[in-house]
Symmetry: D3
Subunit: 161 residues, 6 copies
């Protein structure tokens, strides 16, 4: 039967020991979608300059959040990220901004939480900048798309949406 | 035409000036849902002890994240939260943990981002603790449920899902 | 029967709501003692220059820790300290450095935890700087000496040691 | 004779008590200059997209640093900034990027350090992004331009450079 | 004659160079005791649910503090912890909660400060949650129990209390 | 033609991938100068005790800032510093305090930004402690003096001032 490794035999939380794990190249890609009214997205995309700054701010927020992951998620291990990238794709007709974040590390634990945190915080940052005009926005589908490296090897989300 | 207040006339991001706003009692409630396989949720709920710690860890993570909001979301104002609460509700048949976070402040800006950040980080923490057994989990519907206080007054999400 | 206010009726932790509390002038004084071998303390006190820097580093650590209190202690409220002071007194014959920290705020919650955290972290910093020569040091009696302000009013530790 | 208020009578550092100060509207404007080779600045300005992101990243870094000021500068008081703005002006012939940061607060202490920290960190961020092509860059003239509010009233830098 | 390695020849503090040290498996175990009135501890232990959350919150606080150690203790090196565990033992008749924290790392410096910081902050968190009913509590005997690894090898506290 | 590596082909910022870089011993030395009125510096230097604490506080601030570098400068990689030193030299006739900071690491990226950040924050801390008596102070010449290690090898600033 599978076990929740973050709990010891008595049910107490712990930062699991990764001391015996090998240091390997690991990567994770995660995404999140910000669903808003199409007119909100149109406003966001109006004007080349403005577009630059909105997504640039969200990108920085996502990158910084990846580095703060072990401070945010209590049982995450601190690690030294080799790379973080955060990108955006807009579907204007549906009013959706898709955030994709990827993290890479040479380490003893995976970077799924770093990628998910980066995607979630970048999405929250977009929400913050648009909330004055569209309070009903929703962040959807914060999820892992793929991971590579480590003992459990590669994993890829099936299908799609 | 509505404007994105976080951008100045040239499109540059800024932390908007709230100096002229009145200090009022404000509250916001936000939620997020962690969708997992029903058997993952069953595992999470097996054993009274374990249940306690898993949700307790996620609750602390959410409360702490509310306090870190202005460090995570670049254009958010620092503020002195009066109260933060994070609760969980489990739908075992659907395999869903619903996170509800509420924040209160006497201040010049609202606490929507604090509540949303608390809900999102608590959800990410649950993901972290279960990911070894269910990598395909998804965080859904991070969204504001209601807000009170401030010039824009009360707001409540319509309908439901 | 008294209650632990940081827990709600179901036993879940929360940051209690201080929204209805009055903003008053509050102060707290706390202390901690670092017990070491007398020869370690002699080494620490040897040379005017060195003494300056060791205690200066510990003092800064204590002041900074007071400001980080709500980030360290999960259910503490963020607050805007008006003043922090950290002092040291050495009992060379017993090999004890006594740390005294005081914090003041105009706020809705007391600053006991800020003062205790400042004292504890200043003491840990002294431990850190001496540990290479005396690993058996011990931090003793981290405790509140007095507090003023707030609904519960003034409190002073009885007796002494 | 003037005194360094951050030191007590024994020369020990302290966070000075601002409890008796009035809460007034305060503002500070500070600047910093990044001097680089003109061809480095040309590279920085080449392409509309790129320009957007470089300065947007530095702007976010400056805004975030203003909020972290009391964590960086040991004797600074925590405060709740009402507004932060960071702007850039480029002198292409001299190869200089001027950073101007302004902060506002309703509080008991001034925001000079917040504005100076924002300008310095935004300048360091530009250095970081250009260092691979121009290691000899220099950050010059980190200084206060003006301040308003508080007991000491308004102050403005004389002359110019 | 022994030396305080955190000070250079002029008495100035420094983060000592560990660049030439070997990266070895290191572990440290530290403890702290929270002494309270027996009736306070009885209150803390009343009800299975409540017990879960109080100690769970303190455990998370301790684990997070271990990761923040280099930010709290000025001359500590940042390091990537492999594991952190925090446990509690209650002596109901004496009114004492004993906190034991252990940290492990593969690194160039030991993790004594991380373990001590985790124990101290977990103890402070228990103080925080009980202070409304028992202001006179005291944190005692924050100390290293044992360490392993590194050039100085294994060390174990003699005797006991 | 040289490129700004922190931007991808579309001009978006990223934390560049250092996964393929070798882990080598790296060092960087940076400086900053705080220019003040000679009488301000005289005040700063008056009294042996006082001098100790002012520079000790600034030194701690610089050391701590080096460790926070990846949190301050958005595209910097987190890294585990092996050593940080911050020193001061005073030119009383010119009224200048020169700050020199050096950082060392065994890592995949250089430590220029860490050294520059340490120098800048130590300088800002001196400004903070003297600003009540000399608001016109200026931080000048924040710059890299030399670096060693990594693929680009050694670099030394030419000439001097």
């Amino acid at each position: 039967m599978p076990q929740l490794t973050h709990l010891d035999d008595t049910g107490a939380a712990r930062m699991v020991d990764v001391g015996d794990k090998a240091e390997t190249a690991r990567e994770a890609v995660a995404s999140a979608a910000v669903a808003m009214r199409p007119e909100t997205l149109a406003l966001l995309l109006a004007g080349g300059h403005k577009k630059g700054d909105v997504f640039a701010v969200a990108r920085v927020a996502g990158i910084q959040a990846a580095k703060k992951c072990s401070d945010l998620i209590p049982l995450c291990h601190p690690l030294m990220l080799n790379a973080v990238e955060v990108g955006f794709e807009c579907d204007e007709s549906r009013g959706v901004v898709e955030v994709v974040a990827s993290c890479r590390v040479s380490g003893k634990t995976g970077v799924e939480m770093e990628a998910l945190t980066a995607a979630a915080v970048a999405a929250l940052t977009i929400y913050d900048m648009c909330k004055a005009v569209d309070r009903g926005m929703e962040i959807q589908a914060v999820r892992l798309l793929e991971k590579r490296g480590g003992k459990s090897g590669a994993w890829q989300r099936e299908g799609g949406d």
